[in-house]
Amino acid sequence: MSSNSNLTTMRRLVEQLKLEASVERIKVSQAAAELQQYCLQNACKDALLVGVPAGSNPFREPRSCTLL
């Protein structure tokens, strides 16, 4: 790699790091609390978590047939 492209790469890296350093950060306590809240509030809609009553489960095992 030529020294010019090394320089260009490093300049880009520094610019990118400046951008990332300037990001506004909220406190972990707030962020984590909101994640927890989202989980708890949406738990009832989470079929894999709370299960699905057989009647409303489109993947319910097909019932076996009986021969009359």
Partner: protein, 376 residues
């Protein structure tokens, strides 16, 4: 001091600055914050459907937004679109290249896409007038393999590549609208934010990056993994991301506090994660591992709460160990330990890819033995 050395020092300083800023907002831990809630009870999911039809290992699957149709890609050189309710094959699409690594379903349901070692992303129109599925575009420009692709809409698709870049394409013109550069290793996986404004990528440089689709910038970089990141997904609110790595851990990173919140690992788990998906509320992480197990984690409590595995006595248990034996003998002449020890029951589902559908009703796993399974 030369400019290069100056820049290197500036870069190191900025990295330390970022680390300090992250510590500065770390006023608690996820563990502390969730200490008041209980771990999710042991999860028992059952196989509801087994999708048979592929002739080789499944590499990728992607649900349609209708939560019913699904596309899968196999190195038998086919894409199959399945109706998971009935197990019918809606389409079986022969591929020009069998070295496929990824597939995607457009949100509209009109298109599917795939790609792999051919370095291309091929778009297929499912709704042609004559009813035959055909290639509508071949997107070429990447100089490395296509590891992942996701449609934004019928005319835009995002790709990640082994050439270390990601790109958004205009499908109509077949050109890259934006190229996202910054990773220093192969990009392995990508996921789009729920609001469609951002996407995340995981790469072999051990980092995950958050990209802004509106201005093409990398907004944030998440470090901490000690090996390649193979799998990545968004927490359903869009405020956090989950990664799976060859370092045998999954990690949860919060976007707004810009840092890792927790890691999901166990001493007994020593193999890499190959695929990852979250349940609809975000409370569960489903992760597929290199040893073909699929573990389920409680996102908030960071504890393992279950796995996807067939319960003994299930009717296709009897078939599968035999078919796995034949397949394995054929491919590498080894005998699975299961059969050597004479145990036919308690067979594990061997997972190579995983996905939860949009309504959260089911998880799909693609298996090494060419079957796909639907669980809930």
């Amino acid at each position: 001091m030369g400019e290069l050395e100056q820049l290197r020092q500036e870069a190191e300083l900025l990295k330390k600055q970022i680390e300090e800023a992250r510590k500065g907002v770390a006023d608690t831990t996820l563990a502390e914050l969730t200490s008041g809630i209980e771990v999710v009870g042991r999860v028992q999911m059952k196989t509801r459907r087994t999708l048979r039809g592929h002739l080789a290992k499944i590499y990728a699957l992607h649900w349609s937004t209708d939560s019913r149709l699904m596309v899968s890609a196999s190195q038998d050189g086919k894409l199959i679109v399945w109706d998971t309710y009935t197990t019918n094959k809606v389409n079986a699409i022969p591929l020009r290249s069998s070295w496929v690594m990824t597939c995607a379903y457009a949100p509209s349901g009109n298109f599917v896409a795939c790609g792999g070692l051919d370095n291309m992303c091929s778009i297929y129109n499912l709704k042609t007038r004559d009813g035959n599925v055909k290639v509508s575009r071949e997107l070429t420009a990447h100089s490395g393999y296509l590891s992942c692709c996701r449609f934004l809409n019928d005319n835009e698709i995002i790709t990640s590549s082994g050439d270390t870049t990601c790109a958004v394409w205009d499908i109509e013109t077949g050109t890259q609208k934006t190229v996202f550069m910054g990773h220093t290793g192969d990009c392995m996986s990508l996921a789009v934010s729920p609001d469609l404004n951002l996407f995340i990528s995981g790469a072999c440089d051990w980092s995950a990056k958050l990209w802004d689709l509106r201005d093409g910038n990398c907004r944030q970089t998440f470090i901490g993994h000690e090996s390649d990141i193979n799998a990545i997904c968004f927490f359903p609110s869009g405020n956090a991301i989950c990664t799976g790595s060859d370092d045998a851990t999954c990690k949860l990173y919060d976007l707004r506090s810009d840092q890792e919140l927790t890691s999901y690992s166990q001493e007994s788990i020593i193999c890499g994660i190959t695929s990852i998906s979250m349940s609809r509320s975000g409370r569960m992480i489903l992760a597929g591992y290199d040893d073909f197990n699929c573990n389920i984690w409680d996102t908030l409590k960071a504890e393992r709460i279950g796995e996807c595995s067939s319960e003994p006595g299930h009717s296709d248990l009897i078939m599968e160990p035999l078919s796995i034996l034949l397949f394995q003998v054929w491919t590498d002449c080894s005998l699975p330990p299961l059969l050597l020890s004479g145990v036919l029951a308690g067979h594990d589902n061997r997972v190579s890819c995983i996905g939860v559908n949009e309504d959260g009703m089911a998880a799909a796993t693609g298996s090494w033995d060419s079957f796909l399974k639907i669980w809930n």
